[in-house]
Amino acid sequence: MSAAAGGPVAVHQFVPTLNPHDATGTHTLKLRDALRRAGWRSEIFAEAIHDDLVGLAFKHWAYPEHAARGDVAVYQFSTSSSVAGYLLEHRLPLILDFHDFTAPEYFSGWEAQSVARANVAAEELAQLAPRAELGLTNSTFSERQLRRAGCRRTAVVPVLADYGRVTAVPDARVASELARLGAAGGADLLFVGRVVPSKAQHELVKVLWAYRRLYDARARLHLVGGTSSYEYSKALSGFVHDLGLTGAVRLTGEVSDAALAAHYAVADVYLSLSAHEGFGVPLVEAMVAGVPVVARQAGGVADTVDDAALLLEATDPSYVAAAVHRVCTDDDLRTVLTSAGSRRADALSGPGAADRIVEAIAGVVGWP
């Protein structure tokens, strides 16, 4: 492929699952629009397509009906999928848009099927990376993984996310419930993410227990997000119950955008002790919503937040509780974090974000 004008007429995207409510799905849809604006033909091919998006994408096996000479494939790699095998078989010029996947060790001892799935994903990455003309990632942490897997040329680019959803009009019913809880006083700690071992929600529960004991007996923890790990979710609920925190820890499950906005609106601190993050869209959402961020320095978190969060190297409950207390009570610190957060969010979510990805792709395949 050349970087000169007269490149391919089509840059299509392949994705394991096209879902309107996850980071990869939103990114894929926004990137398709950006590719089309740049002048390429661009369609989305997926193994599974959410009911709400039928008509916006094709099954991956239907690609030959749309194929043309010179097509380039962008693979949105987020998990194991038969799409990977399909791309290896069809040998299209490939750009790997790597969203990272949770390493198998984080599921070890919890869900055998998740370990197996992550192992397959690692094998697929090892096969695809050396073949890719370009690897796109969202953090230097993920970039290192891509390079280790054999990708020769890489670029770190933003995730295209719908950050505006966190400042949308909050769901009235949820806002009312949160206001009722908040009326009793106490800080609201928030974490948004799937309930899985790698996100370490149990560490957040420990912190809440310590925080209530040491600083604020009426504090609450809101854990927003669905689960893909039944065993971990069950263990978490049992743990919350045993600690007598049933009324203080809210496990909301998946929520609508409006309900999510309601949670960000009341949060005093966004707290993440996740052990593995390739990027961390909710960290940016918190910054957009003006919520100060306290986060464990793990994976790509430092790349995501830059200097706009209190980054912790330890997860001891007493240590994290002290950090949360400081953020809740130190006006100067809140101002520093939210101001830096606002700047960081602008840098990651501004109108130039899509252009950076398009330029990286054009740098390899040429402009249309």
Binding site: S108, G109, W110, A112, A187, H202, V205, K206, W209, A210, R213, L214, E231, K234, A235, L236, G238, F239, D242, L243, D268, D307, L310, L312, E313, A314, T315, D316, P317, S318, Y319, A322, A323, R326, C328, T329, D330, D331, D332, L333, R334, T335, V336, L337, T338, S339, A340
Partner: protein
């Protein structure tokens, strides 16, 4: 919550660094005051582990098989209780209509699960037999062996060990810690130290409220420490009798748990002291023998450390201080 002031400090990043240092200091003071004793934090860990599945706790196959057996039968008769008036009636109707179909499917699923369960029981039996054979040939693990006069706060190597570890960013672990004599010294010198020792009677008699001491095996504990979670590690009384395999496992675990730039201090009796006629009987029973200091230095350099040995004044022991090459970020305590 307090209202947010819109004025930024003059140097925001310097302010954040100052805040981080103040948080670390507050935690240190709280730990020392007993506001949140380390024992309570440990109990939190154990409480969560009690909820994790068998494999997550390193439990045995028999427990897992009991769970498999309990889940093998799938009941096709779904419950019909309902909070709504007509709900129960509707559910009963649906159950009657679908029972033949659901029953057919669940019967096959139960049969399939039973077949898997039977196969797992055969595997369990064979593993049990293998386990018995292995146990008969097993070399007992090395325990803690402290030769007289080589351990305790008055010994020559305490000062260099404290000097090498007390200013290290992150937590300092002493194994085997005994009643916490070295932990106390490192804390007094400004370090954030804790200890582990498999000799529960020693640890339990120490003042748990003030010192973070844990009665557990060193290798088991290191497995539970987060990667790069330790700023420094002092090993004393445990390296002399290690078998080659145990030593390799220990070094591998230390290599991932010690932060880049962290310090490893190894105290060991010399081979002469170990084999002296007045040495305790455990020295005869241990699977291994002490290495020479040169061997430790060579071994640690092979693992990416810059190591230096100091011989003890009486020729009975020596100290090796080893530092990993990269420097770590200062200012925060590392995970327990």
């Amino acid at each position: 919550m307090s209202d947010t002031d819109t004025t930024l400090p003059d140097d925001p990043q310097a302010y954040v660094a100052q805040v981080m240092a103040e948080i670390a200091e507050e935690v240190r003071l709280r730990r020392a005051s007993g506001d949140l004793p380390p024992k309570l934090e440990r109990e939190l860990d154990e409480l969560f582990l009690a909820h994790s599945p068998v494999a997550g706790r390193g439990g045995d196959l028999a427990d897992a098989l009991r769970r498999v057996d309990a889940a093998t039968f799938i009941d096709p008769v779904v419950p019909v209780e309902s909070e709504r008036a007509a709900g129960s009636f509707v559910k009963k109707g649906m159950r009657s209509l679908l029972l033949w179909y659901v029953g057919w499917v669940t019967h096959q699923m139960s049969q399939s699960a039973s077949a898997v369960s039977r196969a797992l029981h055969i595997v369990d039996d064979r593993l049990g037999e293998l386990q018995r054979q292995v146990d008969a040939q097993r070399v007992p693990p090395a325990g803690v062996v402290e030769l007289p006069g080589l351990h305790g706060s008055g010994t020559w190597w305490v000062e260099p060990a404290v000097a090498a570890t007390s200013k290290t960013p992150g937590r300092v672990l002493h194994a085997a810690c005994g009643d916490g004599w070295l932990v106390r010294r490192i804390e007094a010198a400004g370090g954030d130290a804790y200890g582990v020792d498999p000799r529960a009677h020693l640890v339990e008699t120490a003042a748990l409220g003030a010192l973070d001491l844990r009665a557990e095996s060193v290798t088991e504990h290191l497995r539970a420490v987060a990667p790069a979670g330790l700023g420094a590690l002092v090993l004393s009384g445990i390296v002399e009798g290690l078998s080659g395999g145990e030593r390799a496992q220990l070094l591998a675990a230390v290599g991932t748990r010690l932060a880049p730039g962290g310090t490893l201090v190894v105290h060991s009796a010399t081979r002469e002291a170990w084999e002296a006629v007045d040495a305790p009987p455990e020295t005869d029973l241990a699977p291994g023998r002490p290495l020479r200091p040169e061997a430790w230095c060579w071994l640690l350099e092979q693992h990416g450390y810059a190591a230096e040995a100091q011989p003890g004044p009486g020729g009975a022991d020596y100290l090796v201080v080893a530092v990993r090459a990269a420097l770590s970020t200062a200012g925060t305590p590392a995970p327990r």
